[in-house]
């Protein structure tokens, strides 16, 4: 390229020009070829393309096999029976709200949109599902978590339909706890065992970072100490003595039973730390137990699950834990009427035959409509994997999960204000500010209160609660 170009300008330009023009020709040819190969993209399947389609948006499930079953077995079968093509799309769970916002703004999107946490702020743009939910309740009953997370008592609207909720039990290293001489049945035990276990290099791991696991487990602590974020009348109740006690407890636990790594955790960190044998106690959906089984982890027999710990007797001694995630479908208001009908039929059919989904989800998910899986207890007690590994009782603590699990926003509903408090990690921040001595416990609670007040005022102003 360099040699012949020396010389006068014009000649250089001339040379180049010819070269350029050859290149241009090639470019045009290539564009033509590219255009031909692009044709498949023009005819792309999408939400608005054909009439007899039903589009569903799901997260990427914990259990890859569940997606496999739903996408390739259940959905096509239902589609065939109803003469519809069912299309299932997946997105990462953290981005579900963003895509939902885009669909609402576009007034076009999936016929069924599945959330993994309550999305009450979207209520104005969702179809009222009363005509689907009420008959299902008649037939199968409904778990309080599902009601509190998908129904708005102020507007009397079922803005979503929950098919399942996921328990969030403690995972503990039985061998290490045995050696320390405790069981994780009360928060006091956790602190006492935590001191010993930290000294042995396997601390407790209650997340304090900006992630959903921390958001859930810290609510467990709050409730067990008798505190709440709000009452049933949607008034903020965070600024209570009980909250201060809970914050003080977490500060003590952080200093005496944990290491600073819990500040850095995201939703996957406690899994890894537990599976690596680096911590002795964490909270999660049963994904830790399941992953260790799949990976043939040597720790599998020692990783056990247990209900959330009780709070101190003098503060009521409650045992209460947040659900881990709650899966709920929405139908957008702007979806064409015929497809709304189709989507509702899908929901009714799916819930009425939810038992295979329960099996497919490997005990992660529990039914929001309890009677759809009459033999939950037997299945939990006879998990095939646990049986095969010679630990038939491993998942038994889940038998009581429906008693000790509750919804975000307890004792009230999971309303839009509570959801914003949840999504902006106010509770983890409150606990972490005190735990790291950046604030006194009382001041941290006051800080949280000051953060929450405008949020509640704002959403009340929007007449959603």
């Amino acid at each position: 390229m360099s040699e012949e170009e020396k010389g006068t300008w014009v000649r250089v330009a001339d040379n180049r020009w010819r070269r350029v023009s050859r290149r241009e020709f090639l470019k045009i040819a290539a564009t033509g070829a590219a255009a031909a190969s692009l044709w498949p993209y023009v005819n792309v399947p999408s939400a608005w393309a054909q009439a007899r389609r039903l589009t569903i948006l799901h997260w990427a499930h914990f259990v890859p096999g569940y997606d496999e079953w739903f996408d390739k077995t259940y959905a096509p079968q239902w589609g065939k029976a109803n003469d519809v093509q069912v299309v299932v799309d997946h997105i990462p769970f953290g981005q579900i709200p963003a895509r939902a916002a885009a669909e609402v703004a576009a007034k076009s999107g999936h016929d069924l949109y599945q959330h993994i946490s309550p999305a009450a702020s979207l209520e104005p743009e969702t179809e009222d599902l009363t005509d689907v939910v009420e008959p299902l309740i008649q037939k199968f009953g409904i778990h309080d978590i599902a009601r509190k997370s998908t129904y708005n008592p102020k507007t009397k609207k079922w803005f979503a339909l929950s098919n399942s909720w996921v328990p969030d039990p403690g995972h503990w290293r039985k061998d290490l706890w045995d050696a320390a001489g405790f069981v994780p049945d009360s928060w006091d035990n956790v602190l006492q065992a935590g001191r010993k276990l930290k000294a042995r290099g396997v601390p407790v791991g209650i997340g304090l970072g900006n992630d959903i696991d921390a958001n859930y487990v810290l609510r467990d602590v709050l409730w067990s100490f008798g505190g709440t974020t709000q009452n049933a009348g949607n008034e903020i109740t965070i600024n209570s003595k009980n909250t201060v006690e809970a914050v003080k407890y977490v500060r003590a636990l952080f200093k005496e039973g944990m290491t600073p790594e819990v500040l850095a955790w995201d939703a996957s960190s406690n899994n890894r730390a537990m599976l690596a044998g680096a911590v002795s106690y964490v909270f999660n959906a049963i994904s830790i137990a399941r992953t260790s089984e799949k990976d043939n982890n040597a720790l599998t027999p020692h990783i056990q699950i247990w209900a959330p710990p009780r709070g101190p007797q003098m503060l009521g001694g409650r045992r209460l834990g947040a659900q881990h995630v709650i899966l709920a479908y929405m139908i957008w208001r702007f979806t064409p009427a015929d497809r709304k009908t189709l989507a509702k039929k899908f929901l009714t059919d799916f819930i009425s035959n939810w038992a295979p989904a329960f099996k497919g989800a490997e005990l992660y998910e529990f039914p929001s409509f309890p009677k759809t899986v009459p033999d939950v207890a037997q299945q939990v007690a006879n998990d095939p994997v646990a049986n095969r590994l010679g630990q038939p009782n491993k998942y038994r603590p889940l038998l009581t999960a429906d008693r000790w699990s509750t919804n975000v926003g307890h004792p009230g509903y999971a309303n839009a204000a509570e959801a914003e408090v949840f999504d902006t990690f106010i509770l983890p921040q409150m606990f972490a500010l005190a735990a790291t001595d950046r604030m006194e416990p009382e001041a941290a609670v006051q800080w949280a209160f000051r953060q929450m007040r405008p949020i509640y005022a704002k959403w009340k102003g929007r007449r959603l609660m």
Binding site: P97, A98, A100, A101, V104, A105, A119, S121, L122, E123, P124, E125, T126, L208, G209, N210, D211, P260, E261, V262, L263, A264, W265, D266, S269, R272, A273, A276, A278, A416, A419, E420, D423, T424, F425, P428, Q429, A432, L433, T436, R438, W447, Q451, P454, K458, G461, R462
Partner: protein
């Protein structure tokens, strides 16, 4: 710049049948039009809408807008997380831009030299820029992991860290900010090097040779010959980098999600968290647009400077 007189002199003989096409004015408009139209339709329009949102009470679930004036801006200012994010935005932008420009300059100068293995170095240095941020940040997250951090492992291996130290890169506000900046610099400095490299080539070799013959040393040539001539492109690179960094949320969002205790949010990530994830669209819009007036003034000033530097 070619003066207006020269342009006019050329334009005059072309009057006649092809007057319009030949008219420089028309041509100028015509050539600028596609870019301007594209931007007006797909950015300016949506931007105005976003401004409107920030003055309303919109949520992601409801666009029945009521005008609320500056309430969202006031509320934003009253929020301590917002104020932290505001400060972080400046810290994040300024520190990473300083590194990007220094690194970009040195790398560009180095890549101009001939040395063995230059080809492979160029390839390796361009890698960060060829990786989608969503994947690159996950890779870095893995390197800063709370348990498996290879960064810590290496620091231990060279005895910067003691055997029991294990800094939590993503769990300590200052370290987390450093981690975020390290990723952002990593992903943007190759590009700034390329731009500067391109700018370097616009400097005629004769000038450099002449300077060398006059006895100017390497550093002298860099500071008194190369950098002044690079100024226009450098200004654009800095400006672009600054603005791009100001509005970027990729590194923060994927690496820390704003944690620990919302101490590493920048305005754009906090706007996303509040406006999109938590659903308060109006508040999110106010947060995202908060600095728009300041940035506008700053950008215009910098662009003026750039323009003046060019016309000299």
């Amino acid at each position: 710049m070619s003066g207006g007189a020269a342009e006019a002199a050329i334009a005059v003989p072309r009057r006649g049948p092809g007057e319009w096409l030949g008219s420089e004015r028309f041509l100028g408009t015509f050539m600028l039009a596609p870019a301007v139209l594209y931007i007006l339709v797909l950015v300016a329009g949506p931007l105005l809408f976003a401004v409107y949102l920030s003055l309303s009470n919109a949520t992601t679930g409801s666009y029945t807008l009521e005008y609320v004036g500056a309430a969202n801006y006031v509320r934003a200012l009253q929020n301590s997380i917002f104020r932290t994010a505001l400060a972080n935005t400046f810290i994040f932008t300024i520190i990473s831009q300083i590194f990007v420009i220094i690194f970009g300059n040195i790398l560009a100068l180095a890549l101009q030299e001939k040395f063995r293995g230059r080809g492979i170095v160029r390839f390796l240095v361009l890698l960060p820029w060829a990786t989608p941020i969503s994947l690159a940040a996950i890779g870095w997250k893995w390197m800063y992991d709370s348990l498996y951090s290879v960064v810590n492992w290496m620091l231990k291996a060279v005895h910067i860290l003691g055997p029991t130290d294990f800094p939590q890169w993503l769990g300590e506000p200052v370290l987390a900010m450093a981690a975020i900046i390290s990723i952002h610099v990593w992903r943007t400095f190759p590009f700034s090097a390329v731009v500067i490299l391109a700018g370097l080539t616009s400097i005629p070799q004769e000038i450099l040779d002449a300077a060398a013959v006059d006895g100017a040393g390497f550093m002298h040539r860099i500071f008194y010959v190369v950098l002044p001539m690079l100024l226009p492109i450098l200004t654009v690179a800095v400006l672009f980098g600054t603005v791009f960094t100001f509005t970027d949320m990729g590194a923060v969002y994927i690496l820390t999600a704003g944690g620990p205790f919302n101490s590493t949010h920048v305005l754009s990530s906090w706007a996303f968290q509040v406006g999109i994830i938590a659903g308060d669209l109006a508040q999110g819009a106010a947060t995202a647009l908060f600095l728009l007036p300041v940035l506008l003034v700053a950008a215009i000033v910098m662009l003026r400077i750039a323009a003046r530097a060019e016309t000299v």
